[in-house]
Structures are given as C-alpha cells and as structure tokens.
Amino acid sequence: MAELCRINGTAAAAACDAITALINAGTGVMICYSGAQPATCAEAASGSEVFTTTAVADMFAAASTSTGIAALNAALQDPHATGGTAGYFRLVALTGPTPILQGTVGTATSNLILNTVTIGASSVVDITALTVTVPLTQ
C-alpha cells in the first residue's frame, strides 16, 4: 500500500501551476450545476446549469512556493444567473474539451461555500475567492 509523503513548496507550486495552467491557457469559466457531482471530471455534466461566470483569461495567479496555493487573479461573476439549486461546479477552459476541476457547492463544508444554494433567476453570483492547493503534506 502506498504511503503518504511530503513535498517541498517549490514542487507543490509547480504541480499546482501545472493544473491551473490548463485553465489559464484558454479563457476559463466556472459552471455550476444542480444535483450531485459526477464521479469524475471525464463524465458528462449532470443536472441543470445554475450559473456560469463570465469567461476570463488567466483565472489563477501563480501558486505560492511556500504553500502550494494558487488563488484567483480576480473575482469571478455571473451577473445574470440562470437560477436553480446549486450542487456542484466545474472549472472549464473554453478551449478544452473537458473540465479541469470540479467540486461541491454548499453553505458549509463544501469546495465552494455560498451564502445560499437557492439561486433565483437573474441573481448576481460573485465568487470572491477560490484557491487550488497542492498540499506540502501529501
């Protein structure tokens, strides 16, 4: 059985940057759907689209070499949400065929924490912070 290991900050940052570069390479969006997230990013999206943020270039800044954490370069926003009950989200590079990352949405203990998951049509959704981390303790 494989055992966990530790990596240094430079290596963690390099690994994190390799992931976010896939999103930064093309204009990136966050698409939120209703329902439970698919088992893998390779699977087709399930549920209905709830909101999609405006596409941005260079969504993520370079990861910190001391923490392995990459943060958004700027907040994301959907100024006119479709609406629905948010369940999970995907980060997609519009130039790529598949989502790069996906995670859960909730009001607590989720990858994306919102003040509410019940999103009315035409609501404004602001993603004020989002980090991708390759932990130094693997």
Binding site: A2, E3, L4, C5, A15, C16, I19, L76, A81, L101, G103, N111, L112, I113, L114, N115, T116, I119, G120, A121, S122, S123, V124, V125, D126, I127, T128, A129, L130, T131, V132, T133, V134, P135, Q138
Partner: protein, 44 residues
Amino acid sequence: MEDGDQKEEEQPEVASIFPFKVEMQGYGTVTPPADTPEKESDNG
C-alpha cells in the same frame, strides 16, 4: 534479462507511491435581483 523484466514489473507500484492530492476551496455570494418596483401606482 531477468533484472530488466523485474524492473518493468515494479513500475506501476512506483507510480502508486505518490497519491497526488489537490484541494480546492472557494467562497461566494448570491445577490437576488433587485426587486421589481411594487405596483403601488396601481391603486393611485
């Protein structure tokens, strides 16, 4: 030759030593659309 064969068999296990872990955490707010004007004038 046998040594070479053994090394090839070990490769999958070497790869599995590094269970890559990625974490993601974000925060956001949802602001309902501005209320449509009440139809107060309907009574006036």
